[in-house]
C-alpha cells in the first residue's frame, strides 16, 4: 500500500532502472499516511519553447507535508504552480499530462480554476498581503466566494483563521491596521490566514520562509507543523534543513525531472540516486 505512494518512475522510461528499488523500499518511519490528495501523471510543462518539466509523476498524500527540493531552476516551483493552475496566467506556458485532485483531473474542461484555487490555496515566497486592513485581507476570500453570510459569521472566520495561523494574539487589537504595516513574518502568517479563510484542502507554499529572518522562519515552520493535521501541504524550499524539519515526504527535482521521492527520512539518510546524494550533501545546488 505504502509503496504505491512512491514515485513510479518506470512510466517515464528514462529512469526505469531505479523502479525496482523504489518498490523494494521498506515502509520505514513514515507515519500512517492518509489517502492520496493529488497525483501528477506524466506532467510535461513548457515556457515557450523551453521545457521546464519532464514527465513528472508524483503522488501527494493528504494531511502530510510534502517538500519539493532541488537546485534553482529545477522546476519545483513550476510543478507546485501546476497544482492550482497558477501557470495558466503565464504567457506561453503549456502543460501536458494529468493532475488529479481527489481523482478529478483539474485540467479538464469542467474544472473552474477560480474555484480550484479556493480549494488549493497558495502562499508565496514574498509575503503579499493586500494593501488593505488585516481584517479585510482575511475576509477577502470568504467575501468573494460568498462563504460567510453574515457579519458575525465573517468575524468568526477571520478570528479562527488568524488563530490557526498563530497571528490572532498579535493582531486582535489592530484588525483595522493595514496588512502591510505588519512585520515580514507576521505578513506571511497573515497570508496563510488569508489562504485558510476559504477552507482549502491543500495549501501550496512556495518558499514561504525564504524572505524571513530565522525567528520568523521558526514560527512559520511551527505553523506548518500544526497545519499538517488538517491540510495537505506542499512546500517548495531551498533549505534542506527546513525540508528535513517540516516535511514527512520529500521529492527531489533536478533540471525539470523528478529524480526521487519518498519519506523524508529515507531520502535524506538513504537516497537511492547519486544526484540526490550529491545535492543533499551540498556538492551542487
Amino acid at each position: 500500500m505504502l509503496t504505491d505512494l512512491n514515485l513510479d518512475l518506470s512510466a517515464s522510461g528514462k529512469l526505469s532502472n531505479v523502479a525496482p528499488l523504489l518498490i523494494d523500499r521498506p515502509a520505514g518511519r513514515a507515519e500512517a499516511i492518509a489517502e492520496i490528495k493529488i497525483s501528477a501523471r506524466g506532467v510535461n510543462m513548457w515556457y515557450g519553447s523551453k521545457q521546464a518539466l519532464f514527465d513528472v509523476d508524483l503522488e501527494i498524500p493528504d494531511r502530510t507535508v510534502t517538500a519539493l527540493i532541488g537546485p534553482s531552476g529545477c522546476g519545483k516551483s513550476t510543478f507546485l504552480r501546476t497544482m492550482n493552475r497558477m501557470n495558466d496566467a503565464i504567457l506561453g506556458a503549456r502543460m501536458e499530462g494529468d493532475i488529479l485532485f481527489d481523482g478529478t483531473d483539474i485540467y479538464k474542461g469542467n474544472v473552474d480554476p477560480v474555484q480550484l484555487r479556493a480549494q488549493v490555496g497558495m502562499v508565496f515566497q514574498k509575503p503579499n498581503p493586500f494593501p488593505k486592513s488585516v481584517y479585510d485581507n482575511v475576509a477577502y476570500g470568504p467575501r468573494i466566494h460568498g462563504i460567510a453570510l453574515s457579519k458575525e459569521a465573517l468575524d468568526e472566520i477571520v478570528e479562527i483563521s488568524l488563530q490557526k495561523a498563530g497571528l490572532w494574539d498579535e493582531v486582535k487589537d489592530r484588525l483595522q491596521d493595514s496588512g502591510t504595516s505588519l512585520s515580514g513574518g507576521q505578513q506571511q502568517r497573515l497570508v496563510i490566514a488569508r489562504a485558510i479563510a476559504v477552507s482549502p484542502e491543500v495549501i501550496l507554499m512556495d518558499e514561504p520562509a525564504s524572505a524571513l529572518d530565522p525567528i520568523a522562519t521558526g514560527r512559520i515552520e511551527e505553523l506548518i507543523h500544526e497545519l499538517r493535521e488538517n491540510y495537505c501541504i506542499v512546500i517548495v524550499t531551498h533549505s534542506m534543513q527546513q525540508a528535513a524539519r517540516v516535511s514527512q515526504r520529500t521529492a527531489f527535482f533536478h533540471m525539470g525531472t523528478l529524480i526521487e521521492a519518498g519519506d523524508t527520512a529515507d531520502v535524506f539518510s538513504n537516497p537511492l540516486q547519486q544526484k540526490t546524494q550529491d545535492y543533499i550533501s551540498g556538492r551542487f545546488g
Binding site: V114, L116, A118, G121, M122, F124, N128, P131, R194, V198
Partner: protein, 435 residues
C-alpha cells in the same frame, strides 16, 4: 608603499604614476564640466521662463482692473411704474442718468462729443443695474441710485497710463476736449479703478472693456467634460484589456504601436478628422462643445491609455498572484486589487491629459469653436468658444484693450493648467500606496 605582487603575476598599478594621476584629474574635470553644463542649461531655461511669465504678467495684470465712473442716476417718478416696476422706462432713466455726467450743449441736449468716455455698452449696464436695485428696493424711487459704469477702452488705457497725455492729439484716439472732460470727472471723484469682475462674468464683446472670458471658460469646461466622459472610460478599458487580458500577438502589438503613434499625431490632424467626419459626415452641430470634446477626447485617449498601462504595470505581480491564489476571478483581480492600486497613477495621467486638452487650440479652430459668442453656451449642443480660441481671437483684435486682455486670458489659462497639474501632483503624492 612597497610594490605588491598581484595574483598570477599581474602587474599592480602604481597609483603615484603621474600618468594615472593626470588621468584621474581629467576625469574629475569632466565631471565638473558636465555639472556646470547642466546648471547653465537650467539657468537658461529658468531665465526664459521668467522672461515669458514676466512679460505676460506685466501686460496682462492691467486687464484685471477696470476704470469705472460713478454715476448718480436719479430715479424720477415720471418714468417709474410703481404698480408694475418691470414695465418702467428703465432705458430713459439710464439715459438721463448718464447725461448728468456731461454739460448740456447749446441746444440744451446731451453733448454727444463726450459720449466716447463711457463704454458703449455702458448704457445697458446702467439700465440693468438700476432696474435690479430699484426692483429689489422700491423705496429708492424718487431718490437717486449710484452705479458704476466701465469707461470706454481708450479712457481705460488713458487712466492706466498706456495712452499718454503728452502724445500729440492726432496720434491718439481721444481728443484734448475729452481729456479735459475726463479730468473734470476725476476732480469730482467719480473715476475709480475696481477689480475687473466683468472679465470673468461677461461673454465676448467687440468693446474690450465689456469683453470677458465667461463664454470661453464655460465652453472649455463643457468640452473638457465631454472629453473626460468619452476618454476616461474608453482609455482605462483599453489599457486594462491590453495590459491584463490581451494575448501577446502581432495584432495587439500593432495596436500598441499605433496607440503610441496616435500620441504623436499633430493636433490639427484630429481637428481635420473632426471636421471631415463629425461635422460633415455625421452632421453634428458646428462650433459645439460636444464636437470639441469629442475631438479633444481623440487626442487625450493615447495619453490616458499610456498612463494607465504604466500605472497597471507598476502594481506588483505579487498582488495579482495573491488575489488569484485565493480564487479571485480575473475580473475581481483587476477591479478589487489592481485598479484601486493603479488609480493614483491613472488619475494623474488623466489630469495631465486634460490639462493638455485645455490648452489645445488648433483642432478647436477647425471645428469652428472660435466663434464670437457674447452669450454663454447653455448646453453642449450650443455654439461656443473655448479659452484658448478666445485668446486666439483677442490676439487678432486691433483695439488696445485686447492686448492686455489677451495676456490676462493667458494668465487665466496658465492658472487653470497650474491648478490641474498641482492636483495631479497632490494625488500622486497623497494617494500613492507603498507596499
Amino acid at each position: 608603499m612597497t610594490d605588491r605582487q598581484s595574483l598570477d603575476g599581474m602587474a599592480a598599478p602604481n597609483w603615484n604614476d603621474p600618468a594615472i594621476q593626470g588621468r584621474l584629474k581629467r576625469r574629475h574635470r569632466g565631471a565638473s564640466l558636465l555639472r556646470l553644463g547642466g546648471i547653465v542649461a537650467i539657468a537658461i531655461a529658468l531665465g526664459l521662463l521668467a522672461l515669458l511669465l514676466g512679460s505676460i504678467l506685466s501686460i496682462g495684470l492691467k486687464a484685471f482692473s477696470q476704470t469705472v465712473a460713478e454715476i448718480d442716476v436719479p430715479i424720477s417718478t415720471e418714468y417709474v411704474d410703481l404698480e408694475n416696476l418691470e414695465d418702467s422706462n428703465w432705458t430713459r432713466l439710464a439715459q438721463d442718468g448718464v447725461a448728468t455726467l456731461y454739460p448740456d450743449d447749446a441746444t440744451g441736449r446731451r453733448d454727444q462729443r463726450y459720449r466716447n468716455i463711457l463704454s458703449r455698452g455702458g448704457l445697458n449696464a446702467v439700465r440693468g443695474a438700476i432696474e435690479e436695485q430699484v426692483i429689489a428696493d422700491p423705496s429708492l424711487v424718487g431718490q437717486s441710485v449710484r452705479v458704476s459704469v466701465q469707461l470706454s477702452d481708450p479712457f481705460d488705457q488713458f487712466a492706466k497710463g498706456v495712452v499718454r497725455r503728452d502724445t500729440p492729439e492726432d496720434m491718439r484716439r481721444i481728443t484734448n476736449d475729452e481729456i479735459a472732460m475726463y479730468d473734470g470727472l476725476v476732480a469730482e471723484g467719480r473715476i475709480s479703478r475696481v477689480f475687473n469682475t466683468w472679465l470673468f462674468t461677461n461673454g465676448d464683446s467687440r468693446f474690450p472693456e465689456m469683453a470677458g472670458l465667461a463664454a470661453g471658460l464655460r465652453g472649455s469646461a463643457m468640452a473638457l467634460m465631454v472629453c473626460l466622459i468619452i476618454s476616461f472610460p474608453i482609455g482605462i478599458g483599453t489599457a486594462i484589456y491590453l495590459e491584463e487580458f490581451a494575448p501577446k500577438n502581432w495584432l495587439t502589438y500593432m495596436i500598441e504601436v499605433n496607440i503610441n503613434n496616435l500620441a504623436a499625431v499633430p493636433s490639427i490632424v484630429f481637428g481635420l478628422l473632426g471636421l471631415a467626419v463629425l461635422l460633415n459626415f455625421f452632421g453634428l452641430p458646428r462650433s459645439a462643445p460636444l464636437v470639441g470634446g469629442m475631438v479633444l477626447a481623440l487626442m487625450t485617449l493615447p495619453t490616458i491609455i499610456i498612463a494607465t498601462r504604466a500605472a497597471l504595470k507598476a502594481v506588483p505581480p505579487s498582488i495579482r498572484e495573491g488575489a488569484m491564489g485565493i480564487g479571485a476571478s480575473p475580473m475581481q483581480v483587476v477591479t478589487h486589487h489592481v485598479l484601486p492600486l493603479a488609480m493614483p497613477g491613472i488619475l494623474t495621467g488623466t489630469i495631465i491629459g486634460m490639462a493638455a486638452a485645455l490648452g489645445e487650440t488648433a483642432p478647436l479652430l477647425l471645428i469652428g469653436m472660435n466663434m464670437f459668442s457674447t452669450d454663454l453656451p447653455g448646453s453642449v449642443f450650443d455654439q461656443a468658444t473655448a479659452l484658448p480660441t478666445q485668446i486666439f481671437m483677442w490676439f487678432d483684435s486691433p483695439e488696445l484693450g485686447f492686448v492686455s486682455r489677451t495676456a490676462a486670458a493667458i494668465i487665466v489659462l496658465l492658472g487653470f493648467l497650474l491648478m490641474m497639474n498641482a492636483t495631479a501632483i497632490f494625488i500622486r503624492s497623497k494617494l500613492e500606496r507603498k507596499w
